[in-house]
Structure formats: C-alpha cells, structure tokens
C-alpha cells in the first residue's frame, strides 16, 4: 500500500475504535430504568426489581467468566450463603438495618468465595477450567443439600417471612423504594466493575483471558489475579443475595443450588459475556421473555424458552450484545495510541515500506 493513496491501517483502526456502541446501550438502559417505576404498575415494578437484583448476580458471573476466564458454577453458592446469612441475622438477632445487612451480605459472599477460591485456584499447580467448574458446581450442590437437611436453616421450607429491611425508622418495602435501592446498587457496582475492567488491571485480565499461559512469562501471578476477581465477584453475588432475601421475604434451598447457578450462566451467555452490559441485558431479556411466555403459553413456555436459549448460544456465541458490538469493542483498548502517524512512518523510509505487510 502506498502511503499517499489510501488511509493507513493505523488511521483506519483509530476511526473504527471511535464507533463505540456500548456507552450508547448503557446510557439507554440507564435512562429507561430510571423512570420505569413511574410508568409501571406496582406488581411489575416488583418484578423488575427482582430482575435488577439478578442482573447484579449475572454481573458477578461475567466478571469471573467473561474477564478472568474462570468457569464458575458457584455464583449461586455465594448468593445463597449471603441470603441465608442475612435472613438469619433478621430472624434470630432482629437485625434488619440496611447499613448492617447489606455490608454483611457482601462480606459473607467475599469470605465464602475466598475460601472456595483459595482452595480451587491457589493450589501448587494451575487448575484446569474443568476442575474449577466442577469444584464450584460441587460447592453449590453441597450448599443446596446442606440447606435442605439442616433444621436450623428451615430444611426444605427455607426461612420464610423475613422481616422488612429498615433504614433508621424507615421500612424499605417492595415497590418503588426497593426498586431504586436495587437500581442504585446495580449502577454503583456496574460502575465499579467498569472502572476495574478498563484499568490496567483490566488489561491484565484481558491478557489472561486471551493467553493465560503466556502472560505468566511476563511476570503476572495469574492465579492470584484469578483469586482476586473470583472473590470480588463472590462479594457482588453476596450483595445480590442479601437484597434478594429481603426483597422476596424468603430464602430457600434452591437459592445456593446448582439449578440457580446454571441459570446465571445462561443469563450471561444469552446476553453475551465480556462486556458487563451483555450480562445485564441477558437477565432482562430472559426474565421478560419468560414472563411474557408464561403468560401467553402456559403449557409450553419452558420449551420455547429453552429452544430460544439454544438458538442464541449456538448461532450467536457472543450473545445478544454481539449483534451490535464488534469484537474489537468487546475486547476494548487500554492505552492511548497516537492518533497521528509517528515520525518513522511519515518519513516512509525504505525499511518502513518493507515493514508494511
């Protein structure tokens, strides 16, 4: 390619990288969800609140799988542990203050994920993806069995009638109030995750996802990075569990179980992993489609939903977000490449012309 006749690849790719779709999608969702309770009936606001809480959980899965390459079937374990933990705080100690129960749920999620992550990820040899997937799946299954069999946790019946969450003398009841609490929490956590995955730490995660074995030879302590992301995601899942327990007023043994863990994986795959917003879209889409199908096709809706999930995962592995977001944007850029050609290329010396492909 002669340098004067057509735009250089450097110019071309800078122009391409300027077309960012993700911020537009983020802004659109933020705007829509800011006003939803004003236009929806109360029962729908309650439904969407649940969707927002589940979006928080899907976000935690996207962090571990979409960014750190850890196939975790244990997000429900952290979600459920924190749900049970905060339910017990409310039932046995009468603690319902938002300023205690939400931080407590976060800490429970963090500690359970630290314990499991330490065991699975920080062994002498780097674990395989299958080992971690089976390890987290086993953890989730064990928690389900434990909850079902332990009388103190309510056995099969779980813990019903959890008292309402409070903020001082104010009761945080389901409806618009709880909606905005869940919404604010989701936005805050999303921004935190966004900051993290676009930082230099995010670049290390991108490197780890692309070529885990290679980056260790630069000096990255890959297993430590993984354990950090796994624990952070566990804390987020725990926070979602605390919110869920108080929103539903009930926790049951399915909450930390395998089925729920798998559901989170499907949400994220459906929406598309590795963009954060894809996971949120996945939850919104699956839950709304399920809601509508269950209303209109009462007998066959699970089959229709299953087929839809299969079709998306088979024919659009990058998920719904992949329909509008390019691979280049999904991976992202982390530095600030020069927007004009540097001196060497401008001079167009013999050696540089040779260097062009």
């Amino acid at each position: 390619m002669s340098e004067g006749s057509a735009p250089s690849p450097a110019y071309r790719s800078v122009r391409q990288s300027r077309r960012q779709v993700i911020p537009i999608v983020e802004l659109a969702l933020l705007t829509i969800f800011s006003v939803l309770p004003l236009v929806l009936a109360d029962y729908l606001t309650i439904f969407i609140t649940r969707v927002l809480i589940l979006a928080l959980l899907a976000l935690s899965f996207d962090l571990v799988w979409g960014y750190a390459g850890i196939l975790s079937f244990g997000q429900a374990l952290f979600f459920g542990s924190a749900g049970y933990g905060t339910a017990l705080l409310a039932r046995d100690l009468g603690i319902t203050s938002i300023f205690i129960v939400l931080p407590a749920s976060l800490v429970i999620g963090l500690f359970v994920s630290l314990a499991l992550g330490g065991f699975l990820l920080l062994g002498r040899h780097p674990p395989t993806t299958i080992f971690v997937a089976l390890g987290t799946l086993t953890g989730s299954y064990a928690a389900d069995r434990l909850a079902r069999g332990w009388y103190y946790l309510g056995g099969q019946n779980g813990i019903p009638a959890i008292p309402t969450m409070t903020a001082g003398s104010y009761a945080v009841v389901e409806g618009p109030v709880f909606y905005y609490l869940a919404f604010a929490t989701l936005v805050l956590v999303y921004l935190l995750c966004r900051f993290l995955v676009r930082s230099q730490f995010g670049l290390a995660l991108a490197g780890m996802r692309e070529q885990e074995a290679r980056i260790a030879f630069f000096g990255y302590r890959v297993q430590q990075l993984k354990a950090i992301v796994f624990s952070l995601a566990g804390a987020i899942a725990g926070l979602a569990g605390g919110l869920y327990a108080f929103h539903e007023g009930f926790v049951g043994p399915t909450m930390p179980g395998v089925v729920f863990s798998t559901q989170i994986v499907l949400y994220s795959l459906f929406g598309g992993v590795g963009t954060l917003i894809g996971a949120v879209i996945g939850v919104i889409a699956v839950e709304i489609v399920s809601f509508w199908l269950a209303d209109n096709y009462q007998q066959v809706w699970p089959i229709i939903l299953g087929l839809l999930l299969l079709l998306i995962i088979l024919f659009r592995p990058s998920g719904l977000i992949g329909l509008v977001v390019s691979e280049r944007e999904r991976v992202g850029t982390f530095g600030h490449p020069p927007r004009t050609l540097p001196r060497i290329a401008q001079e167009g010396g013999e050696e540089d012309q040779h260097a062009a492909p």
């Binding site: 250089s8 690849p9 450097a10 790719s13 800078v14 990288s17 993290l196 930082s199 230099q200 730490f201 670049l203 290390a204 991108a206 490197g207 692309e210 070529q211 290679r214 980056i215 260790a216 030879f217 630069f218 000096g219 990255y220 302590r221 890959v222 950090i228 691979e327 280049r328 991976v331 850029t333 982390f334 530095g335 600030h336 490449p337 020069p338 050609l341 540097p342 001196r343 060497i344 290329a345 050696e351 540089d352 040779h354 260097a355 062009a356 492909p357």
Partner: protein, 244 residues
Amino acid sequence: MPLLEARGIKKAFARLTALNGVDLTVAENEFHGLIGPNGSGKSTLMKCVAGAEIPTEGTIRFAGRDITAVPPAERARAGLSLKFQITSVLPALTVYDNMLLALQAQNRLSNLIFSRTRGPLHERVLHTLDQFRLADRASDTAAEISHGQQQWLEIAMALAPEPRLLLLDEPTGGMSLQERRLTGELLIPIKRRCSLVIVEHDLDFIRDICDVLTVLDQGSVLESGTVAHVQNSHKVQEVYLTRV
C-alpha cells in the same frame, strides 16, 4: 559467577528423552547461540530455563539462585524473559496494548487497579514500538500485522521488563531475508543491557550476532565454545553435513 548455569539437565516425556544431561553456562552480556538439528532438544532446554517445563533431573541456577522448580512468573520477576518459538502475541489486543501489557507486568496490584502507571508508561510503549518499527501500527490489533512484525512485537515484549537474560526461540522463523537482517540489527543494541540465549536455524544469522555457541545433538551437548571453535569442529561439521 555466570548469570545462568544449567547442570546435568535431563528431560523425559514418557519414553522419549529430550535432554540427556545438558550443561549450559551463560555469562553476563554474552550472546549465546543454541544450534542443532531438529529434535536435538534446543526448545526443550529453553523451556526448562524459562520454567515452561520442569527438568526431570539437574539444576538451573540464575544469578546465583536455584530456580529449577520456580514458577515462570517468579523467574520473569527475577530477570528471565522468553520469546516462544510459536508467535504468541495477543491477537485481539492492539499492538500498543500488547506492549503495555508486557511493560506493566511487574507493577504493584494497586498501581494496576488505579492505572497509576498508564501515563508514565506511555512514552516507553511508544519508544519501544518505535525501536522495533511498529509505531505506525500501534492502533492495529496484533492479528492485523504481518508475521514478521508479530515476531518483532514479541521480541519487544520480551525485552520490555528489562530482563537480565533474554531467551529467544527462533526469532526469525518465517521471516524474509531482509526481515532477518533487520532483526539482527535490532538485537545488537540490547547487548549492552542483557545476555541472550538464542535458538536459530539460520547459521549465518547466529554467527553474526553470537559470541558463544552450543551445539546440541540428540539431547546432549555435542560442542560448545566460541563461534570459530565450533565452526572448525569436525563433530559439528559431521552432524550438519549428514543430518541437517
């Protein structure tokens, strides 16, 4: 004290013995070439030194420290850097981000999370890309650049952490004659900064840049010494005339 000292390295894969008691010594600022026919164990030896493989027997000392069973990340932090035989740049990332990824590798975690070194490293990224004639491709993904440029990018990335010992496994593989000549020119200036162990099939290339050569054959050292000494060795000539 030599910078790298490998003694009696054996490496077996099931019934195949890839290395059978190899010794390798590399001094500070020495350019050391590893040559030998295909399957002689050159790449396996490089992998053992870098930590990609753990020797079945033998010890490897680097800067006086026994690193025989030390993980690759810790070896890198001690000053060892490897460019793999198969190009392993990160294709989905831009050339710029590949370089930044390598440069920031040994930063503290808090610096990475708060992107404290992104600004300070910017000039170094551009300077290194400029040195390796990649500055005009900074915004392209690594998948978009030519094979030769990917090789240069990987050498630049391996050099980024300022290692004490650089291990290059066939850095000119798949390059044109002119690209190989340029690669040689790019490598000469690093002699002031670090030692080099290089595996290469192009004997003219290796003769031009190396001080010392070690010839491997069937997992053992056939000959080792200065370039002139190895060139005149009857054993080496025999192997190269009959098997290469």
